[in-house]
Symmetry: C2
Subunit: 232 residues, 2 copies
């Protein structure tokens, strides 16, 4: 069974949180949004049952599952990418939902007014929102994740869960978008950076990282605008 | 078994999406954040295992579950507030996550720069973001929900699911915050308004609506600032 995975071509984007779970889990999938001539919106509109609002979605043939964290929930249950049992399952999903919240806020640092408008049309608001994100929001979230990392479950129990691979994408994205800020926070949150590095070294991911399937951050959610970054 | 439910006192807020599911499901719970002298942050900090990032969370004695949609997922599984079976379960959760996305965007119409700052400090950006939310985002989301409503699963199968009660909160919140805009959209999205009205009439919710447990919208996520509303 090979799943069809649909997301925009050219960027890792929100899709990356599901994609890296597919890759780490060794789950066969096709990246359908990168097919030549693929029309993501037309495909979305073709679904009558359980239609996605937006990409990413996973089409298993039997199921059409949208919302990034929901795709991960499915992969966790079906492919063992989350701890067994209610407690670990819910905890993994809770972490993933918080990871997606930070991701949405990171996006809004460069698009605080309108996703549909250019960055240049909202630069002043972006500067203010990015400052607040750097100073208040990033530390708050990292304090939470550092506490989470210290619990008996770690993120995913003995090995890793989709929240760990999601956390890796989040940390990598934040370091790409806000390199000065994240460097300034490294001492205080050393265990989180170490955890990111552990995930980066998972044997399951090495082929992916070297492949063309793995795209660099660029024009998606995590964007580096030097004027939005700063050590504080 | 009576659950402890923790959320800020005084506002429906994000908590309302979980609270209304508890109420509609007839699930015994205590609203602990409204206890005299309750300290929500201190309580949060007291959890060593599976700590919440922020309220709301549900403390079942055995489990501590945070993230609104995750609480709903738990209630759906444990108390039959979602269809049985993988397809209906994932679909209900997908809808709930999209409902929470709209909710976050609705919040950001009045706080596009910083949650921690006053509305007055970000009124100009708020006016721009609210205009975009009214004109572009609300219709996009409603088109999606209207398509969702037309699928064979409806929202929750035969009766209702936590996505239906969540949708009721969302529609009510939008109508509170943007009464002119929502009135202008009523003709185009009549089935969605009718669906909201169906949920409002659920026998399971009548006692709740009349009780002091049910708080009006006010200073929370869905705020009515006349200057942020408009028919288009």
């Amino acid at each position: 069974m090979t799943y069809d995975f649909w997301y925009w071509p050219g960027i890792p984007g929100r899709g990356e949180f599901a994609r890296i779970a597919l890759e780490a889990g060794g789950i066969p999938y096709r990246e359908r949004g990168r097919d030549e001539g693929a029309d993501v919106w037309a495909k979305r509109d073709s679904y009558d049952a359980t239609p996605p609002y937006a990409p990413p979605w996973l089409d298993t043939g039997e199921l059409v599952i949208a919302q990034t964290a929901n795709i991960c929930l499915f992969l966790g249950d079906e492919h063992g990418l989350a701890p067994d049992g209610r407690k670990g399952r819910l905890w993994t999903h809770q972490l993933m939902l918080t990871i997606m919240d930070v991701t949405a806020e990171a996006h809004d640092t460069h698009h605080p007014i309108a996703s549909s408008a250019y960055y240049d049309e909202q630069k002043d608001a972006a500067a203010r929102r990015a400052e607040q994100f750097r100073k208040e929001r990033i530390p708050k979230f990292l304090v939470h994740f550092q506490k989470a990392l210290g619990t008996d479950l770690l993120f995913g129990g003995v090995t890793w869960s989709y929240a760990d691979t999601g956390f890796y994408v989040l940390m990598s994205g934040l370091c790409h978008a806000f390199p000065k800020r994240m460097a300034a926070l490294e001492d205080e949150f050393r265990p989180l950076f170490a955890h990111r590095d552990r995930i980066a070294k998972l044997p399951e991911l090495q082929d992916y990282f070297k492949s063309e399937r793995c795209l660099p951050f660029g024009e998606g959610i995590f964007r580096h605008y030097p004027e939005l970054d700063g050590a504080d």
